[in-house]
């Protein structure tokens, strides 16, 4: 998937029309004379204007209305008589993505008045040009923020001068608590993103971590997860105080399970966990002391290591 493109699409959904619209709107009153319209449009270099009475949008008038009036050779009259009443408009809190959709309609308009959803007052006007300008500005801001964030987080290793550098993160796991199970791994996934770790590595580590967390919840009373993040590898150590694994080799086989039925009904315990973890890891070790507990160590090599190898 194109990561950058997804971000841009997200941005269009995140941005509201109010973020990009032009709020300095040239408006005209319904009782103004039609003969004054030409100057207004010419002076401001616009091809139309919302018609506003008491801050409320009552219509829209454009060059076309002016031409039609001129061509008809009619007497002067009020804008109110010639404007389009019930004009289409957008709400300020709608997304920019939605505005683009409306502006792209070939049957539709090139500009929409923008109205506040609650007060119903006219607050701005939006064209494709406003969107391009607004989005570019926002992209630039986000890009700078992202750079700063990446600098702070992912360059942490380079910024700190030491012979050896590691970050440790600890999580407690409560056994048999299915509602909380998985929380440590989802939280960890967010931290890894913040640290600027590559997405495919995050995915492998999160899956391994989640399966390992579930194993502890299913089989033991309590446990801990320790993430050791080094410049060239991430080591996840999951230890529990539980019954231990009787036959590690057998436990590694896909489909082998000692889980009780209640675990199976929760969507786990099908004997796939350890092989899933193994597939995600560059290296995996299991140390089991029957009656004491299990320590599972998962190593995933990060970019730097792959490059130097």
């Amino acid at each position: 998937m194109d990561f950058q493109l997804v971000k841009t699409r997200e941005l269009l959904l995140e941005l509201s029309i109010s973020d990009v619209m032009c709020s300095q709107v040239v408006t005209i009153a319904p009782d103004a004379a039609m003969s004054t319209l030409r100057e207004v449009l010419r002076d401001y270099g616009i091809s139309g204007a919302p018609v506003v009475e008491d801050d409320r949008l009552v219509g829209i008038v454009s060059t076309e209305d002016l031409i039609r009036w001129l061509a008809g050779d009619d007497d002067d009259c009020s804008i109110g008589e010639r404007m389009t009443t019930d004009p289409e408009y957008l709400f300020a809190d709608q997304s920019v993505a939605y505005a683009i959709k409306r502006l792209e309609d070939p049957e539709g308009y090139g500009r929409f008045p923008v109205v506040d959803r609650h007060s119903k007052k006219l607050v701005g006007i939006i064209t494709k040009g406003d969107i391009i300008g607004g989005v570019l500005l926002k992209l630039e801001q986000e890009y700078k923020e992202e750079e700063v964030r990446q600098f702070r987080a992912s360059h942490i290793f380079e910024d700190i001068a030491a012979d050896d550098k590691e970050i440790y993160l600890f999580y407690d796991i409560v056994g048999k608590d299915f509602d909380r199970a998985g929380k440590a791994s989802t939280r960890m996934k967010k931290n890894l993103k913040r640290l600027g770790i590559r997405p495919d590595i995050i995915r492998r580590l999160s899956i391994a971590s989640y399966e390992a967390e579930m194993n502890v919840v299913i089989h033991a009373d309590q446990g801990t997860m320790k993430y050791r993040i080094k410049p060239d590898e991430i080591v996840l150590e999951v230890s529990d105080r539980g019954p231990g694994i009787e036959d590690v080799e057998k436990a590694m086989q896909t489909g082998f399970t000692t889980s009780e039925d209640w675990v199976k009904e929760m969507g786990f315990g099908a004997g796939m966990g350890l092989s899933n973890i193994k597939n995600c890891a560059d290296k995996m070790e299991i140390r089991s002391d029957p009656g004491v507990g299990v320590t599972l160590t998962i190593r995933i090599w990060t970019e730097d290591r792959h490059e130097t190898e």
Binding site: G255, T257, D261, K264, E265, G267, A270
Partner: protein, 113 residues
């Protein structure tokens, strides 16, 4: 549609119950939760699952299901095979994931909950 026709059309491999494929199948049930199958599958259904534990044979026998299709290239263990032969329950294997296999059954006119 006969189970044997389904085997042929969906390219299933017959693991057990080769003599029990003459059964008429009109409905399917897909689930990996045994208690769900016990509660909701109906007699004669073909059951699609990736569970390979020998308990699947007990469930199929209890509910008089028409057969079991194991998806995702899952291989049943010896004890499961033994039990299925004993009970005459067809176990059929497919490499396809559940969604795809069910979609194809649906195309063949098999319905289900």
């Amino acid at each position: 549609m006969k189970l044997s026709e389904i085997v042929e059309k969906l390219d299933l491999s017959v693991k057990t119950g080769a003599n029990s494929l003459d059964v008429e199948i009109s409905r399917g049930y897909v689930s990996d939760l045994l208690s769900d199958v016990i509660a909701h599958a109906e007699e004669g259904d073909v059951w699609i699952t990736l569970q390979i534990h020998q308990n699947i044979v007990a469930v199929a026998t209890m509910k008089s299901l028409g057969g079991i299709i194991l998806i995702g290239d899952r291989q049943p263990g010896d004890d499961t095979v033994e039990k299925a032969e004993e009970e005459g329950i067809p176990i059929l294997l497919s490499k396809l994931p559940a969604f795809e296999l069910v979609g194809r059954l649906y195309e063949l006119g098999i319905t289900g909950n």
